[in-house]
Amino acid sequence: MSEVSQGSLFGAGGLASERVEQPLDAAEPPRQDLPDRELPAGAFEPDGRGGEIVAPGRSAETALSVSDVNAAVREVLESSFAPLWVVGEVANWRRASSGHCYFSLRDESAQISCVIWRSDATRLPTDPEEGMEVCAYGSLSLYETRGQYQLVVQKLEAKGEGLWRLAFERTRRRLEAEGLTDPARRRRLPALPRRVGIVTSREGAAFHDVVSVIRRRAPWTHILLSACRVQGEGAVQEICAALDAVCRHPEVDVVVLTRGGGSVEDLWCFNEEVVARAVAGCPVPIVTAVGHEVDVTIVDLVADLRAPTPSVAGELVVPDAADLRVAVQRGSAALAAALRSRARRAEERASRASERMGDGVIRFVERCGSWLDRLGGRLEALSPLSTLERGYAVPMDAEGSVLRRLEMFEPGDAFRLRVVDGEVAARVEATGGTAAGAEHGGESST
């Protein structure tokens, strides 16, 4: 770092640190001198003995004040080093009431004092732990009051995503301790929501994705956007307000909190405890879909369901109309099958019954038949017809009464004779032993 001392006011004194060996930013032009305004008045003034310039501090007469030296050293430090990354372990971290943070970075043999001004400190996800290895990005400067040089840190990152991870874990532990991450808290999503609330940015791809998927799957679903910023300053408050607002709508059945992919810092709002609490307090089931599949945020832990992407969130909150139609078809088929089987059962029973009935009838008929046969036989035995067959005839008056006795006949009376195959009209000639009309005799009657 020869440029630092070359032509420098303090070059001879070796004020520039020998330990800073490499140029930190090749693009930064080497400084040749310091601006006049930083120099003690008269430092470059000709001394009146022939215009010779006497460098200040070269003699007791031109001695510099402590303040002048520190101011000059500060200027050298600040102008000589481009902002740089420094790796080391965190020691003695202190967040002052002013909001500024003070700590040291150290390795086995050395340490640097560091400060993070409040404006940068508020962007830190959390305070680092003691001894944590971090990379700090900032500018070298001098704290003139103490003559102590320091790194004014603008960004502080733990190895990997250490600090974010640490903040994440701290928040997660707090929420866990309250039971807010308990899977038992998770509610079932409504099977068929009539209105889906979406909390996201109006312009974001995430909103588009969710809407497209819902439109495709369940086009009848109403969608209510509650818009908010999803990153940067004020986003945390806006997300909470948008969540609160969407839940006040009386017909929102389920809420999707979403945003597209981004860096850890972009997604950080969704790791903020206050946002997590707003999600946990959501009165209707809530699905979160923040970033890409690999991004798990604190809100995912307290939501009723976490979707890996906004599109999947859309799929999770509404059913597919095609599936529902299939369900209806199945129901319809089951209904038809149930009726068919019911009808079959009825038919079987009817046919079994009719079989039984048939047997009965046949048996009955058979039984009747045999009765009739037997009866018929008996009836025949009782019938006068067989007698008539043998040549007998039965005299009957007009009313059909059998004329059995002699006194029932008067000469001249008409009567009928029943023979085997019909009747014969007859008249009494005379009564008595030789009466012609009596030749068939009443005795032939039964």
Binding site: R215, W220, A241, V328, S332, A338, R342
Partner: protein, 85 residues
Amino acid sequence: MSQELDFEATMAELERIVGALDREELDLDEALRLFEDGVRHVRRANRLLEDVRGRIEELIDASSAQVDTVELAVDATDEENADAD
């Protein structure tokens, strides 16, 4: 009755009818009556799935206590996609 309850209730009723037909020894008249009921439920469920467009709205002022919404236009490509599917 709201739409989703309607659909679910309709399907549940259909299921109940199928179950009754399957399990219970109803007389044939009653079974036929149930079946006709079931057919009505199938028709109703299908009608509920007809392609009725839901509204897309935005809450006007998230910070106000009022729940005011405004219809939100979604660009045509979405609509076309939705139609195509």
